[in-house]
Symmetry: C2
Subunit: 188 residues, 2 copies
Amino acid sequence: MSFYIGLLHYPVYNKRGEIIVSAITNLDLHDLARLAKTYKASRLYVINPLIDQQDLAKRICRHWVSGYGAKYNKDRQKAMSLISVVPTLEASMAEIKDIEGETPILVATDAGKAKKQKVNYKLAREIIASNRVVMILFGTAWGIAKELIRKADYLLEPIFGVSNYNHLSVRTAAAITLDRLFSQSARS
Amino acid sequence: MSFYIGLLHYPVYNKRGEIIVSAITNLDLHDLARLAKTYKASRLYVINPLIDQQDLAKRICRHWVSGYGAKYNKDRQKAMSLISVVPTLEASMAEIKDIEGETPILVATDAGKAKKQKVNYKLAREIIASNRVVMILFGTAWGIAKELIRKADYLLEPIFGVSNYNHLSVRTAAAITLDRLFSQSARS
């Protein structure tokens, strides 16, 4: 079983429900790369169509993978070296197909606005256990555009903790999702 | 059952294993407050002995609780209003005792260096289910000082995902810990 993580900056919504390109957030790259390493994702795709934003993300990665950061913190180097910066989701899916020899199953995540039928975590774990290659997509800003969610193979159910408040950051939502999907010992 | 979260900035370790006061990180406050709201924590204590750091944390909170941020994002207001800024762990424990009429059980978290006997998540959930008041303490920087961990009632086992890499941010580690401890549906 191999899986990939996508961090999507376009197409996503802003607060007013308009489609935007969101900005690269430094801590998103660090937190998601460290999660990717913890849960053995094959790669983390940082998806942003803007050249200057790609350059920013690449510069951050270079610092930690081959620059001063690599000497400063070897653990961080291992995590950040999992990042690939790509312009589109399609580019990441094509790269995964090249690597794996099959098109990955696209699993989108959403905090609850999307109307598409959702799969629960139990079913999602069964899909993963079926040995297919999976791409799990997390949206930044106010979430993944519904046109893209419609094209996904599956939409994962939103995270509800104890309350009906579900306004988590993409960093913490990704942490919970990956732990629920992949951790063997989460409930033991 | 009521529980509290502590985000500790002193005493914690730096990279060289020296005891330091760590700096307030804006996104830590946001991410942990949103988690506190999601999992129904009674309060989030931001613990830092430095007056200027307390002032910074309070200014961030004011912006979101009663300033422009409160109008801009009501969901964020609800989360950020759970934050109390205090100088010491003892101050937070005393405040909880005042509110609850009992001293909370102190559950510390650590990525694995501490030698103290650890409790697994199953046992930790049983402790929580026993209806005692609980304070769950997360360390910033390179983790909670061992002198303080020794004084805790329990030390929670480190988070291991799939690999033996366990270098998560406090934001994502807190997300996983709270979901494992409190979510009803994490495995359904």
